[in-house]
């Protein structure tokens, strides 16, 4: 009587697959239900029961309406949604690409050449602790409120992760791999191109991705503070005149564009990085 017997139950593979599938269907159903519930509660507190003032929270219906109206309507901030979006995108992209083009080689250079590492790194370490946003005021005084300050602030915010990640990526290269290269007669340049950079590539791509997020965030911040065009400006104006619908439309567009950019870069980095 003291011995308990357990029976092993063997479930056929097909059954396991069915079970997994069933669970997945259930989980997706829960996800969709939650989202619907959130939208419903959101609608209930705004349009449904008017629990929150319309100046504090726009209803989902209103947000969708505003989104479509803002496509063609220039009021109240002087530009359509598309114009704002393009204005932000242009500055973010130019600053970002400059940062990648300059930052990645600089990081590699810093890691590969000891003297540069020793000389430049302390200054870089000093400057990188300052978030990009903090530079805005300084740049506005030096370069005025024009686009130049915004390009530079985006550049500054994006260049730091580019440099940092390509630097630590190159530093990750295993000595043994370099020795092997040397033994087979590779010169310094060849070692860099065919050993160190391929090793560092995943890390560099991570840096490039982080930089994209940083530049998008920084352009929004820069536009919140000083600008006359752009998504950040649009939501800031929406706050001034108590139009939460415009703010929410702006936030959604900012989120969607940020998400799309991250996705595109993800695909690119998957194509570039082989063998991982």
């Amino acid at each position: 009587m003291g011995i308990q017997r357990t029976q092993a139950v063997i479930i056929p593979r097909m059954e396991v697959k069915k079970l997994v599938k069933k669970k997945r269907v259930r989980n997706t159903a829960i996800s969709i239900f939650t989202l619907l519930m959130i939208v419903f509660i959101w609608w209930l507190v705004t349009d449904g029961l008017h629990l929150v003032a319309s100046s504090a929270m726009a209803s989902p219906v209103k947000v969708v309406q505003t989104f479509f109206r803002k496509m063609t309507d220039k009021s109240p901030d002087g530009a359509t949604l598309l114009q704002h979006t393009l204005a932000s995108l242009k500055i973010a992209m130019v600053g970002y690409f400059l940062a990648v083009i300059i930052g990645v080689p600089l990081g590699i250079f810093m890691a590969w050449i000891k003297v540069v590492d020793l000389m430049v790194r302390p200054i870089f370490d000093l400057i990188r602790t300052i978030p990009g946003i903090a530079w805005i005021s300084l740049l506005i005084i030096v370069f005025g409120v024009g686009n130049t300050s915004r390009y530079i602030v985006v550049f500054l915010a994006a260049v730091v992760p580019c440099i940092l990640n390509s630097f630590s990526g190159i530093k990750q290269t295993k000595d043994v791999h370099l020795w092997v290269g040397q033994t087979f007669g590779a010169g310094s340049r060849q070692l860099l191109w065919s050993v160190a950079i391929p090793t560092a590539l995943p890390m560099i791509m991570t840096g490039v991705k982080v930089a994209l997020g940083a530049s998008w965030m920084t352009i929004v911040a820069a536009e919140l503070l000083a600008s006359s065009r752009g998504l950040g400006f649009m939501i800031q104006q929406g706050r001034g005149i108590y139009r939460p619908d415009i703010i929410m439309v702006g936030m959604v567009v900012i989120g969607i564009i940020g998400g799309i950019m991250a996705k595109v870069l993800d695909l690119i980095s998957k194509a570039i990085i082989k063998g991982r």
């Binding site: 996800s31 000891k114 590492d117 020793l118 400057i127 602790t129 300052i130 805005i136 000595d175 911040a221």
Partner: protein, 301 residues
């Protein structure tokens, strides 16, 4: 007797990372087969002395160039000299900038960051682990996160101001948001990264759920959680500066933005200096904490 022979593979390598091979040969009664050849490539390993020396050198060169550029060129019209900034920074500890002295401004900003950060990280760790352990919890919250995450916290500032006014709550909310999102996702990834064989093995050896959690799940998440806390703290600091620049009446961000509107470059530079120094202290503190708590991970590497 020791004799060191330095073999340079290629003189150019001295600059390209200084790759050289050091051959240590013992002369005297040591038979040839016992000659030691030290094959270490002493390339990237800068000595401590070298590091400190070059840091000192490069920073002083940087400051001197800045100083002379300010003194002798037109840059002086808009930019104060670094020495003046440091002097004024020190003076601001006793002489108020605006209503408060520098430490009070810093304390305001720090209080905002730390309050939001503490609430956000506690709830984030809790929810992240719960999401990792339970599929239903994760399928409830995951889509919400997928929607919120791409929106930079800074874009929440106008809405937060409408909701919570221009007081402290707005800043707490923003910092909470940025910390919560980062930490939750990382804690979730941490739980998901655990090899289920470990949990199975522990269960088979008779560990109860509490023990499985304490011995396997929690230790496996800690590095992930710390990575999340680290990024979250950096973002929190940037966010609080942005929030203070948009709307506030004290703090380091306020110092920068009022400096701008008063065309007072000195005040802006002092603000930037404070932001940099405190940001550096926060990340260093976090790194030390991580090294302490995750020492087993470092040892395992």
């Amino acid at each position: 007797m020791k004799f060191t022979l330095t073999v340079l593979n290629d003189p150019a390598h001295l600059f390209a990372g200084g790759r050289r091979r050091v051959v240590v040969i013992h002369l005297g009664f040591v038979p040839p087969e016992k000659w030691q050849v030290d094959m270490r490539l002493n390339q990237d390993k800068a000595t401590r002395f070298q590091k400190i020396f070059f840091s000192f050198l490069s920073i002083s060169v940087f400051i001197l160039i800045w100083h002379f550029a300010v003194v002798f060129t037109e840059l002086g019209n808009i930019m104060p000299s670094p020495f003046a900034i440091i002097k004024n920074f020190a003076v601001s500890f006793v002489k108020p900038v605006g209503k408060h002295t520098m430490p009070v401004h810093i304390a305001y900003s720090l209080r905002r960051v730390l309050t939001g950060f503490l609430i956000g990280s506690c709830t984030g760790i809790f929810l992240g682990i719960a999401m990792g352990l339970n599929e239903i919890v994760s399928s409830i919250f995951k889509p919400v996160f997928e929607i919120i995450r791409p929106i930079p916290t800074i874009a929440w500032i106008p809405l937060a101001i409408i909701w919570f006014g221009i007081g402290e709550t707005t800043k707490y909310f923003l910092i909470f948001l940025v910390t919560f999102c980062n930490v939750t996702i990382n804690a979730y990834d941490g739980v998901r990264s655990i090899d289920s064989d470990y949990i199975g093995a522990a269960k088979m050896l008779g560990a109860n759920p509490v023990r499985v959690f304490g011995r396997i799940i929690l230790p496996a998440c800690v590095p992930y959680i710390f990575a999340g806390l680290q990024t979250a703290l950096g973002y929190s600091w940037a966010t609080v500066v942005a929030a203070e620049m948009v709307r506030s009446s004290e703090g380091v961000g306020w110092m920068i933005i009022t400096g701008q509107s008063a065309n007072n470059m000195m005040q802006i530079m002092m603000g930037i200096l404070a932001v940099g120094v405190i940001g550096f202290c926060l990340t260093t503190l976090m790194r030390v904490l991580e090294a302490r708590l995750c020492s087993w991970r470092e040892r395992g590497k």
